[in-house]
Amino acid sequence: MEALTNRSKRVSNKKLSLGERLYLPAIVGGLGITIRHFFKKKVTIQYPEEQRPMSSVYRGLHVLKRDEQGRERCTACGLCAVACPAEAITMTASERKKGEEHLYREEKYAAVYEINMLRCIFCGLCEEACPKQAIYLQSDKLAPSFFSRTDVIYGKDRLVQSMETITSAKSVKSGLTTSDRYVDKVWKNGKY
């Protein structure tokens, strides 16, 4: 049969020579390969003590950002919920009352904001859709594992950025975190 491509190789069925039938040269060659691996540098990362540096564009657990004065950025416009392909986000909007200006940046805010972490696929489309730069997927924090179904739905209590981080972290995206700095250092040192 005519070959369609020239990629196929003809199988050689030639008889083994005496040297090949002795096995020993091949075995010695194999031993050479394994002993070279024996002295190679190991790539294992000792997990709990040592962690693999995460990429600075990694999409981890969500955070609802505050602005520089500590006011919640989210205005409950619902664009993130619309953008979400997994329909993981729900929210209830509410109007800002007098005297709450230090809590919410705009007149409207999310009274309830929930993300179902079992539905979320961590695609980051909510982050892209948000016009107020309110929701981000953190690069240094993974969504934890759950042990009960009631744990799965993250409300504002677990999503909104804590006040302490506002004073320290300064970054466009979710604040420059320790792991970001680690990644930068590692990359500059040329380890990865």
Binding site: L24, I27, T34, H37, F38, T44
Partner: protein
């Protein structure tokens, strides 16, 4: 002072026994480390510093597992199998000379005390006798389990061991002809210089012997009796708890003993290059003699450890033979080769006086 002599002997035997068990224990650790390193991993490193307590953790785990005997198994034979494997493995190391002699005249012992369990003049025969007894442990265990896979594994083990024992014994005959003695002590003392090591005088015999040693220990590439992928563990499929532990442990003891026998028969045992030079530098009294002996013991253990490493190195390099390949290699290659080796060695041994006298003018 016969009593002191016996006491010294008893202590030496106990120490040898202890060291055998210790090395076998840590062989399991070394096996995992070597496997890991060859596969670019790190291996056990959580139990104790560098994972050094791992063997103890393993033994603890083994002890706490349920000691299960299948309902249809032959109960006594089921227990006798691993016991026999363990006993025969432990008995073998007593004829191996781990060092030359200790001068203990300051204790009132007139004779030099050899660092050896018993110095019998049929040492080699004793080793082979016990090695062939070891097959019974496997065979009884596999048969008593009342399980097809176990029986198949045991059959494979028995036929493999019997086939390779032949070639092994034949390859030894060449050495025995050269030395003129069955005593391992004599064979070791015959190799008191580096160029007289049997590995240089009997290279073919050495290769046959080491291949057969791998087969006798059921080590890869000859681990057909217990190949997990085909026989789910082979003869020890039905075993659990410390009975399984005994089988696995016996394998490591056998590995230690084989390494010791290989080093003694082919690599000069406790002799090392530069020994006579060192003996000349050390004082000629009891202390110097003992010091030299202890260095020899250290060298011997170095050789043993190297061969244990070699066993592991090979295990993580080569794939398992197919059963027909195994039998072809044993019966059609190794046995004819070793017979040929005997013939050539015999001819050279017979002709040696004539060759020597013919080249006498060179001296």
């Amino acid at each position: 002072m016969e009593l002191y002599f016996f006491l010294a002997k008893a202590i030496i035997i106990l120490v040898i026994f202890g060291i055998t068990l210790l090395i076998a224990t840590y062989s399991t650790y070394a096996e995992r480390k070597v496997a890991a390193f060859i596969q670019d991993r790190i291996g056990p490193n959580r139990a104790g510093p560098w994972g050094l307590l791992q063997p103890i953790a393993d033994a603890g785990k083994m002890f706490f597992k349920e000691d299960f005997i299948p309902a249809k198994a032959s109960k006594w034979l089921f227990i006798a199998g691993p016991s026999l494997a363990m006993i025969t493995a432990c008995l073998t190391s007593c004829v191996v000379p781990f060092g030359s002699t200790l001068d203990l005249r300051f204790l009132g012992i007139e004779n030099l005390v050899p660092i050896q369990g018993i110095d019998v003049n049929i040492g080699i025969l004793y080793v082979f006798g016990l090695v062939s007894l070891g097959v019974y442990g496997v065979m009884i265990g596999g048969w008593a389990s009342n399980n097809k896979f176990s029986l198949l594994g045991a059959m494979r083990a028995a036929s493999q061991n019997i086939s390779y024992e032949l070639a092994m014994s034949l390859s030894i005959i060449a050495i025995i002809m050269m030395t003129g003695s069955l005593s391992i002590n004599q064979i070791v003392d015959d190799q008191d210089a580096f160029w007289k090591w049997n590995v240089f005088r009997q290279p073919v015999g050495f290769i046959i012997f080491i291949v057969c040693a791998f087969a006798e220990c059921n080590r890869t590439p000859f681990d057909l009796p217990e190949c997990e992928t085909e026989l789910i563990g082979g003869y020890h499929t039905e075993y659990s708890s410390m009975k399984l532990g005994f089988y696995l442990f016996a394998e490591y003891i056998n590995m230690f003993v084989s390494s010791a026998v290989i080093s003694a028969l082919y690599f000069g045992g406790y002799h090392f290059p530069g020994e006579s030079l060192l003996a000349g530098m050390l004082p000629a009294d009891a202390l110097g003699h003992n010091l030299l002996t202890m260095i020899g013991v250290g060298v011997f253990f170095g050789k043993i450890l190297f061969f244990i490493f070699f066993f592991m190195w090979v295990r993580w390099t080569i794939a398992r033979f197919r059963y027909d390949q195994l039998m072809n290699l044993g019966w059609k290659s190794l046995i004819p080769l070793s017979i040929l080796n005997i013939l050539v060695t015999g001819a050279v041994v017979l002709a040696w006086p004539k060759i020597e006298s013919a080249f006498a003018f060179l001296n």
